[in-house]
Symmetry: C2
Subunit: 476 residues, 2 copies
């Protein structure tokens, strides 16, 4: 139930958890670090899943399901992988009342179990490529959790592909980070910077990690999706070889890529305001909420008939709508509630509207309120939802641009990122330099953006000439 | 790859696992009792999910997600529940490198974690009903596993509803077993007997369990879905009370209901034959497979163009199709392969067919082969798929009727169920009698069917008069 949230300016972190709870997206559970995704939050995730699943299938992928429990020894087969994930593992030691001979870990990610199966399925180049995705839950034991952004258990999809050449695996990894970019921009209405992670920041077991980085409302970065070129690392760990067209035997090349329920957190923080959530129409569980307003049974009946007429039209227009018929709540309460839940359009219909064949339409993103004829509303609602979607994206793009600075000294970096904000800078430092900067400023290199123009500049930290630019920011 | 399976008559269990593997539905994993669901098997599960999810939503349910890890102490709060599930638990004792203060179990079912949350969400009758479903993985440590039918980890949906009255919760449980019946009959083409479980066989923690029981190809029963009226058992265990309309405080009433990836096993065993799987059109990943046949580049090009014309039409008819363009395999091999995979219709198109604007159409269920004009095929394909769906159902209904006997003595029971088969009998025995019969015959009371006519007869075991009839069979 919505009674207002802590203002962003007062405490952004508190604002976030207030919105998560008051919009009934998720709730704390009795299990440390785990959340319950409530129906309204889950409906957003279902919309995310449905669009992404279609995009994956349109790019030739199929879904499958691999066991959640992985023999502990599997994790150890890839040295970097185990180093990265060992501290985060949940371990099953007992099953069916007995101590297990070998402990099983709950998957923190599925490269190991999947590549142990690929060994069975791949013999020849004719068996390649394998383009499999999995929708699943994973567990990573986190010390500090925050709902949707970092929880011990979370839901995600993980693509795991196998290829005959490294080029093809790189191409796949790049194709999928572009699918994520398209999804973030066109569906989430969140602009992202696409680039490569530094060696320090790449996935444990990857040759290269690609990422999409979004700016949240507090100007901090959120890594929103990653795609990895894994080279032959997992093929070597699990001895997966194939016979190529020249009858030579070689190790298989791999990619993996994933996004998670964290994307719900990205939606909240990219768009939300002090009234709560603002959802992009393409992912909103309800695109239009209708609040019928009446005082007595006579006006109730007229308003209800009028609303029925509207919803029949909305249904045939494939607009996702909801009519708030709750009897014990005032219209004003309902307005606040649906603003908290971020529904893109609110329609109010009272006795006077019925008499005039009109209705009041309120945009969640701008607050703009108009009195429209029913006919013109129904004619324009599809276009209006597109306008909102587009406007939300452009709004976030302008916000990011306003809060991105080119910096050329360490002091400038500190100033540019202290209270959030993206810094763009030439960079030629080492991994150790990177760690020092992180310790001193809490900011990290988010990525080396794609599409650099190759112009040369001076590294803000080492003073050396370089043509490589990076984005640096504090991040979630 | 399909090279034929063990005949059913020779070894039904071996036939089953052969089909699972050769149709590439699933594969053994390195984790004891866990299987990998391969893309083709997972596509069947996705179709099952998609239909059921729509049916759940059409009956007013919403999806949510609850943590997979449950504090061990939660299971112990409901006495029958823990007794039923304790022997099957997988226990996480370590997380993040440390021993946990309280072990966590991986959900074997989610009543306990969900009712611990319902306590937070329910105060008044206005908060009721709660109609939540969850799609999830669960783990039950099984000694003897069989792919899809009984695996340590499996995928399922579990509905968990909360109500203000017992009548309403019973109504919900009955509504959902009827949804399962409808799904089994109309989508899986599998007739089921709907009824109530005996006290011995009911869910651990339920007041009543309802079930749908299907007959497999070896005449054994498969429990294919269950729905439970839980009374106030879990509300009492988790202290979930509400204020009713009279301002009195009382415990909330509950139902839960679920079906799992076991349904894929039901499809295999209900319909399959010695050539492999036979899938009902409504759930088949591909309803039509097209095998182009050519000898050289010239005929290839003509056949390919012709097939393109057919697939454009199939696409606009919303028929799910696949064209088998694999270059290194013979048509005969492909025919066997798609028969193994159970695709309802196979279409063969060769140079002569192109010349005559015809094609060869083969039904998987009957083997019937016809030469049809392209036009008449495209006009009739939708109807033909419906005919196959219907015919598969009627075939299975006749098979079940042929293998169901009314019995009136213990000897008759033994004869009727020894090699599979359903026995229908009057029953007035005790739970101990039921256990004795199970020990001596391996057959169990599958259910007390709904819709009994109330006529009186003699219990085959106790000789007492009773009006209650039951179905007894060996079961999976």
């Amino acid at each position: 139930m919505s009674k207002g949230v802590t203002p962003q300016s007062q405490d952004y972190a508190k604002w976030y958890t207030d919105v998560v709870q008051k919009a009934e997206l998720a709730d704390y559970s009795p299990v440390k670090g785990c959340m319950v995704i409530r129906p309204y939050g889950y409906a957003i995730w279902e919309n995310i899943q449905s669009v992404l699943d279609r995009m994956f299938k349109d790019t030739g992928h199929v879904n499958a399901y691999f066991p959640m429990l992985i023999p502990e020894s599997f994790l150890k087969k890839e040295a970097d992988h185990v180093e990265g994930f060992a501290p985060e593992l949940a371990v099953v030691t007992h099953g069916g009342g007995k101590k297990l001979e070998e402990p099983l870990v709950i998957r923190p990610t599925s490269e190991t179990i999947i590549w142990s199966m690929y060994k069975k399925w791949i013999n020849s180049y004719r068996d390649l490529p394998i383009l499999i995705n999995q929708w699943a839950n994973v567990v990573r034991w986190e010390m500090r959790t925050r709902m949707f952004l970092r929880t011990t258990e979370f839901l995600w999809q993980e693509g795991h592909t196998a290829h005959a050449t490294g080029d093809e695996a790189v191409e796949e990894a790049l194709k999928m980070i572009d699918v994520y970019r398209t999804f973030a921009e066109n569906y989430m209405a969140v602009p992202v910077i696409v680039g490569k992670k530094t060696e320090n920041e790449k996935f444990a077991g990857a040759v290269d990690t690609y990422t999409i980085e979004a700016m949240m409302g507090d100007k901090r970065a959120l890594q929103s999706g990653t795609s990895h070129y894994l080279g032959q690392n997992f093929a070597k760990a699990f001895d997966v070889m194939f016979q190529n067209e020249k009858n030579e035997t070689e190790y298989v090349y791999a990619s993996s890529w994933g996004v998670s329920t964290r994307l719900v957190g990205a939606l909240i923080m990219a768009h939300g305001d002090d009234k709560g959530l603002i959802l992009p129409p393409k992912l909103a569980p309800y695109q239009v909420v209708i609040v019928p307003i009446y005082r007595d049974e006579a006006t109730k009946s007229a308003v209800t008939d009028y609303v029925d007429k509207i919803t029949r039209s909305l249904g045939s227009l494939n607009v996702r709508f909801h009519v708030d018929t709750r009897e014990t709540l005032s219209p004003g309460y309902k307005f606040n509630d649906w603003e908290m839940k971020g529904v893109p359009l609110r329609v109010e219909a009272g006795p006077r509207d019925v008499a005039n064949d009109k209705l009041v339409v309120v945009r969640r993103d701008t607050g703009e309120k108009t009195l429209q004829s029913r006919e013109s509303f129904l004619e324009s609602v599809g276009g209006l939802l597109d306008t909102i979607q587009d406007s939300m994206y452009r709004n976030r793009l302008a916000f990011r641009d306003d809060n991105t600075q080119d910096i050329s000294s360490y002091d400038e970096l500190k100033a540019a990122t202290a209270d959030g904000g993206f810094a763009r800078a030439y960079w030629d430092g080492s991994g150790d330099d990177e760690r020092t900067i992180q310790e001193e400023t809490k900011a990290t290199i988010r990525c080396i953006p794609f599409g650099q123009d190759g112009s040369e500049g001076t590294c803000f930290y080492t003073g050396r000439k370089t043509s490589r630019q990076v984005i640096i920011a504090k991040a979630y």
